[in-house]
Subunit: 350 residues, 4 copies
């Protein structure tokens, strides 16, 4: 209801501000008997950790160590809710003191104020990207469950700063700079990133997420179509401004005969991205998310203060210069959460 | 849970198959005192009605007359649930008998079968686009409520068959062929449509939806961001394969300084599409949906029957040749439902 | 959210006022392949029908014929939502005209007005007991599903007008006056009813509901305990003022050694009513509901009009003199709805 | 869905096992600007703390110190989720080792095993009454919000071990032994408690909860009636086996003329317990819960082990001898949570 819970059966509820004592969450609905420990979750968290991004990363260093508080016993889940917490240890709130009365363009400062009437302005408070650490932890738990179902989710960058990659090795992407699926593209992306950083500016890109092993029949009809849930999940990540499935926007320019996938064995195409009528057809699920350039830039911008007076702002703090690659494990986590939920929902059908 | 209910406070639940006795729904959570009668809903339904599409429409003629069963008294809502029903009157199920064992490429035939193990195969059953009539009825009720809040939602086609329009008059679009915002583009779109129909093929396009009067502060944080709810709502419409907000996918190729909107009065740009951090900023909300070409084509396609044997299919029935323009009021309805829900949710905050 | 939907996976949404065009609902989440037709539902509806109550029944005669609009194909459910409608045919709204400005003691007239600011005052509008017809229809669908799971729910009156029955034949109770589990008690209850009717007054009683075949493990922990869901379901029926499970209020006066059930095979007692820690233990589920005397009485009562002026009211209309026995199938339906939902939820666990 | 979340707008999600690292929860949906700090919550927690019960208390000593992790800034809520944690510090798991294979009569040992297939058997795991600490913390937050709405909730024991109190001073009850509303009854209750303890047995009782300041109109119709939500909330507390509102079970034995409250100013009676048709009428809300004797008794009982073999058990551990008085603040908390939720829901209506 209030926006901090995701999912219906497999549910993640998160809490926490950028500069509060801690952030964390509760995963409820994970079936019993799923092998799980903090180390498994930590592995995914480390991919999203501040500083993990190489050239594009923030200077804030956080261990982001997850502590499991419940729901796991003798190395596996018990079916009861899994509470977890990640302490905030490296806040430097003074960075934000001077800007506390200035609204940052492209940020949620003004909209949160309009919504709530008051806010924890330190580091973006609840609207900080830091909140996504809890999503990655929840996604890792969903992933542990999905592994037992034979479902695997992979995410990688297919375009950065306007330069597309040609995906050649998506399995190895998570360990490359920018989560690049193509080692050859990395130098061009690095050059693009350096150029933007030199001018105090920021960049965006496109991330693709693929899920294999999804059985035909997964997904709910009408409003809760699998693609609708994926769009909801991905668009709910702060930096995302667009989502597409399979051919996506390109489908709008094709004829039906070019866009339809013939039903043959083995399949010869996957224009539908593995989803027909909102339900998985057994082929890989393919989704893409458009990542906007991070709005925190060192370039002077026109803005107003919270009293409405015109002002100029240069955003300080220790920000990333692109949401890529740190957003990549977040998007993967969201897809894992959707698929875990849909897998359990399908058990209520047949 | 089972996918047939939309919204949290302002909720629409729908039911009905293409060739069953009737389709309809229940709107729950509409506040009392909203002026409402069947005629107001019928006006929106008529825009989606079979045959409304001119060149691109189906030959099936349905009056789609809505009957209100509850929740309205002396010309206004009472706060109790509004039941409504739309009788099916023009089914010609025999059209589908011959194809009952063949899976139509690009359709949900096989995926519904995989999900449920059995299905009402007549005219697509529950997965038929006919179900969207109930959405339009629900959206009209949401719209009646939003009118009292000063919020107006408009939808129009910005690209058809690969040919973009230059929007000049979006307010008048609903009454033009293709819901075109640009009278001058209509002949080119008609030519494109005729060409596709001549070859038995189908076309897609891009629809834009704009909402004005949305107050700053609307939208929930984290998972239920206003853009996330819009993406969920729009992607849940059968023909949609992509959704974007504001600059959308184009934002992925911009720098932060080009994509950020300076915070000035009056605003000079709306790259964000009226949403920052998932919360409305007071500017118009702008979303776009990519509409795939309708998969029902008269061109022979390779497929399999429900036993898995290879076959060839030429889809009969009385189908549209494009989801545009009939999908336009459906997308508008979905945005109305989101905004009505978010408006009521915000009342729980302050 | 707005109170008109029951259940999480197996869900019933209802609509309809006493004197509007129709009442009805939507059952969503019923698995595919459950044998179902209107006749099966009608059988349960006929037990709740106006006039079914013998001595205690209302004079309003309604056929309460249910019409299924969707979700059933070739004699069984398809997994899609089941829309249904029951037309109102015997409204005599003029009965209520004179009392439209007077608040009836013990009724929801004043509270609905306080809640919504306006109301359909004819026959109680939405707060009329007539709304429970939709519950019985939904319960019958849940019952059809439960039959396939080996779960059977029975309801019967264990006390009427202060006179307790000694249950001897609960299976036959549904066909006896008052749903009496004990044929010998019927004359005493009839005498009590006649006495109350002669003085224009009304009576209450206690209804017990038993469910057999409920497997150990059913029910959710903490807030959604099986007994919590039952209490919620039963207390949500208008006439109910108390709910107890197993020993219920009597348990409050026992010691632990007297109230505990030893865990032996076969069980020697069922003080717990088949539920431990909120989860079924495999024994029959036993719940009881306290039914208040119907507040519509022909005795003059002090009240106020809607403007707040003192007045005297004698309630006319064609009311029952006791909610018993017509409430009995409603309570059974509510328990069926709970158990269908909990059965499906358990499938998400293991 | 999985039972660990309570409420729709004002929501509490809890986690934690009796002998795990910690228990805690998340409150989501609390409006911004509510004065709140840990000390305010601690005050309520201290009333439920192990050892708070005097004669009837467990020997386990836990500080139950709550730590707020988010959602509070400069002394008041921000509208974002409030995460909190209570560390477990005094586990003596060895107490439970010997009984790990024996099912305790009256406990959830066997039913959790049937539900999940595996369990954390230490101290009852998730089904331990210790979980209710998180409810009290959540209830305290709801209470902080309700204070600003002029709503106050009080809970007190009206019967213990079969001996009723005559309530004379409910406001002072929280500070008396047994939460007695009547100082004169305390010696009789102490004698009853000593007697039971001497024989290794346990006792139950009846707790009444009163809410004042609840405005007319609060509560949702049909399934989510205010009394239905209260019954759900109270019956979801482990020790509760019965719930009644106003006259409750006694109403079943009255005539309508005796049970109806005349609508006069000021009111002369409150047989309805402040609720008509599921909606508050402006009078105090009055509910009662039947508390069963705690099943952990030092008396030998017949049971089986987890393999199904007959056995005898004498329950060790450091258990309370009655859920009273420690359950009293828990029941109060549940009513606070219901009323906070219903208060926010009503804002979506008018």
């Amino acid at each position: 209801m209030s926006g901090n819970t995701f999912g219906t059966v497999f549910r993640l509820t998160t809490y926490g501000e950028s500069h509060g004592p801690a952030l964390g969450g509760v995963v409820d609905g994970c079936p019993p008997g799923v092998p799980l420990d903090a180390a498994l979750i930590q592995r995914d968290l480390d991919r999203r950790r501040p500083g993990a991004g190489g050239l594009t990363g923030t200077a804030r260093k956080e261990p982001d160590a997850v502590r499991l508080l419940s729901g796991v016993f003798e190395g596996a889940t018990t079916g009861t809710p899994i509470g977890f917490v990640i302490e905030n240890t490296n806040q430097r709130s003074r960075d934000y003191e001077e800007a506390k009365n200035l609204l940052r363009p492209g940020h949620a400062d003004g909209t949160y104020l309009a919504k709530y009437g008051r806010r924890d302005y330190r580091g973006g408070g609840r609207s900080s990207g830091r909140e996504t650490a809890a999503r990655v932890a929840g996604g890792a738990m969903a992933g542990a469950f999905l592994t037992g179902c034979g479902i695997e989710v992979t995410a990688y960058t297919v375009e950065f700063g306007g330069i597309p990659a040609t995906a050649v090795d998506i399995a190895g992407a998570a360990d490359r700079p920018f989560c690049a699926p193509d080692p050859a593209i990395v130098p061009a992306w690095e050059a693009r990133a350096k150029e933007a950083m030199a001018s105090g500016d920021s960049l965006g890109g496109i991330v693709e997420i693929t899920a294999t092993g999804v059985p035909a029949g997964l997904g709910e009809p009408i409003f809760d179509k699998l693609d609708a849930r994926l769009a909801y999940a991905l668009m709910g990540v702060g930096a995302v401004k667009g989502v597409e499935i399979g051919n996506g926007f390109a489908a709008a320019r094709l004829t039906g005969s070019a866009n339809n996938d013939p039903i043959v064995t083995p399949p010869e195409s996957n224009h539908a991205g593995g989803i027909l009528g909102g339900i998985a057809n057994g082929q890989p699920i393919v989704a893409r998310a458009a990542i906007k350039p991070i709005p925190s830039i060192a370039v002077p911008q026109r803005t107003t203060d919270i009293a409405g007076n015109p002002a100029t702002i240069v955003v300080g703090g220790r920000h990333d210069r692109s949401a890529i690659p740190r957003v990549v494990p977040v998007l993967r986590a969201m897809v894992q959460l959707v698929l875990a939920d849909m897998t359990l929902l399908q058990r209520t059908v047949r």
